[in-house]
Amino acid sequence: MHALVFIKQVPDASQVRVNYETGTIIREGVPAILNPFEAHAVEEAVRLRSKYGGKVTVLTMGPPQATEALKECLSRGADKAYLLSNRIFAGSDTLATSYALFEGAKKIIELEGEVDLFFAGKQAIDGDTAQTGPGIATRFDIPLVTYLIKLDEVDFEEKRAVATRLTEFGQETLQVPLPAFFTVEETLNELSHSPLPWLIKAARAKFEKLSGENVKLDSEQCGLKHSPTRVKKAFTPEKRQRGETLTGSTEELVFKTSDILMPFLKKDLQHGQND
């Protein structure tokens, strides 16, 4: 079994700064974490490995600082971590990102062998777009299973998987041939504690580097300049003002609140009578 997990290092949302010149986020200097959904993706891949043998590879695209998240993946049991870095990626939107990761993944297949299962989080908590995974799956032209909550069955002989995903109305269970692409929910599994050897391995880890030097990249599809979408303007949302603090005894507060609610109560009564 070979699982490839796409992971993203995301800035801690509470410490965001913005480059108003380019309208992009400044990631440098902001504490970074592994996108929470992807911790579960790595966990699932590692569990598959302990059952079926094989290996788990992780890949991220980002600046050289993005190695913290890769380290966490290794401590969670991944075998090898790849960092895809290149200046020309700066400012990539989701289309350009899925292109770069697609090329990076092809290189990993060349180096590490065919991949049976691709994983990613259902979305990244910084951008929240949920587009990169579906984008990569489309580029590989393999089946996509989003919002994965359970891998019911994986059959490496028959090369197929049975998987359950969330839908708008509940759940559905699908059968797909492998390789397939899964984006995962947090409820897919519970994270395990890392055994000491994994932690040691992560601390000493060396990362495999991918860049324009060893990956064939079409610069016409990379970075800000070749991203279809642009940030025209970034701004902090208008804050509401704190309104009136009601004062008085509990009884007085009940009367005051009930007065405020009267229009809604009356409307409800009218409804009732018209029915």
Partner: protein, 353 residues
């Protein structure tokens, strides 16, 4: 920023070959998702500014019966592809069929609901078409100078808003969460044109098979439908105490909801969660009981017209977005309020008889 974007002659030709605004009519088992009509209403407003038409597109086993509703909410055209293979939503056949329609009819703007299905579909269609996609937009406007679509969306869990454009690629695609826009039928609906498409796909060419579907017992609730929402948080203390949340909601003709911690504590199902990883609501009245007001919660409710909050902590961040702040123990306060409202209701009824 502020920089003008240069276009080549060829780029301009390409762009001007795209016209009209499309809305994806999401349906399951022949029932349209309400977000489709919310988007049609928005599309109508944008189309007026661009002086173009509104197209709608549905794919399914049987979707023709949706035509009346689609026209009632302002579509000029309804593109339909019906086939047995579309009985259930599956990414790949929907992606390929929809991408083909877009290549053929070239809409300038394409709006899709940011539902589980819409998010699954839009990312693959945009990649297939190699165009830009802006997810979860909360505002859509036409730039009067350039005629481009300005798509505004929250990022970083709502701490930052970004206005996105897609200057050189068409269609300009974006998804919108249910409940962000209101669905308003047109006053004098006209019968639009129905255009039927065909598919070459056959079941044997589709590798993904659906084995089982389970509709959750809680069902699917669209909080965006309701004018009044009473929401409870971790501060309600127990699932039993949520009964007062439900009762108050019912008295006010609304529905009830919860924060993520309320969901995690088992007080409310995930389908009723408000916020970044739940639903977005724009209620006329939002009552928050025992909710602290974390940014991830606020992004889901802070555009409500009137917000009333009950919290024991006078410095709870929820108060910073509240119209009325009540510093009280909700577990004691809400039952008293319910009692008073019931009394008022009785008096009101006896008056009218």
């Amino acid at each position: 920023m502020g920089k003008t974007i240069d276009f080549t002659e060829k780029e301009l030709d390409e762009i001007s070959s795209y016209k009209n605004i499309w809305v994806f009519i999401e349906q399951t088992g022949g029932v349209a998702h309400p977000v489709s009509f919310e988007l049609l209403t928005k599309a109508r407003e944008l189309a007026k500014q661009l002086d173009c038409q509104v197209g709608s597109v549905a794919i399914g086993r049987s979707v023709s019966h949706l035509a009346d509703d689609v026209f009632r909410f302002g579509a000029d055209k309804f593109y339909i592809v019906e086939d047995e293979i579309f009985k259930d939503y599956r990414t790949e056949p929907f992606r390929d069929t929809l991408s083909d329609l877009v290549r053929k009819f070239k809409p300038e703007i394409f709006l899709i609901g940011a539902t589980t299905q819409g998010r699954d579909l839009s990312g693959t269609v945009a990649t297939e078409l190699k165009t830009g996609l802006t997810a979860d937009t909360t505002k859509q406007e036409i730039d009067p100078e350039t005629g481009m679509l300005l798509m505004t969306r929250p990022t970083f869990g709502g701490s930052l808003m970004a206005t996105i454009i897609c200057p050189k690629h068409r269609p300009q695609m974006s998804t919108v969460r249910p409940g962000v826009f209101k669905a308003i039928p047109v006053e004098h609906p006209e019968k639009g044109e129905i255009i039927r498409g065909k598919t070459d796909l056959t079941e044997d060419k589709i590798v993904k098979k659906i084995l089982k579907k389970v509709v959750s017992s809680e069902g699917n609730i669209n909080l965006g439908f309701y004018d009044v929402i009473v929401a409870g948080g971790k501060g309600m203390g127990s699932k039993d105490h949520f009964n007062m949340i439900k009762e108050l909601a019912e008295l006010l003709g609304g529905t009830w909801a919860g924060s993520r911690k309320a969901v995690e504590s088992g007080y409310a199902p995930q389908s009723r969660q408000v916020g970044q990883t739940g639903q977005t609501v724009h209620a006329k009245l939002y009552i928050a009981c025992g909710i602290s007001g974390a940014i991830q919660h606020l992004v889901g409710m802070q555009t409500s017209a009137v917000i009333i909050s009950v919290n024991t902590d006078q410095n709870a961040p929820i108060f910073d977005v509240s119209t009325y702040c009540i510093v009280e123990d909700a577990i004691r306060f809400i039952p008293k309020l319910i009692g008073e409202l019931k009394k008022q209701k009785l008096t009101a009824v006896s008056y009218e008889h």
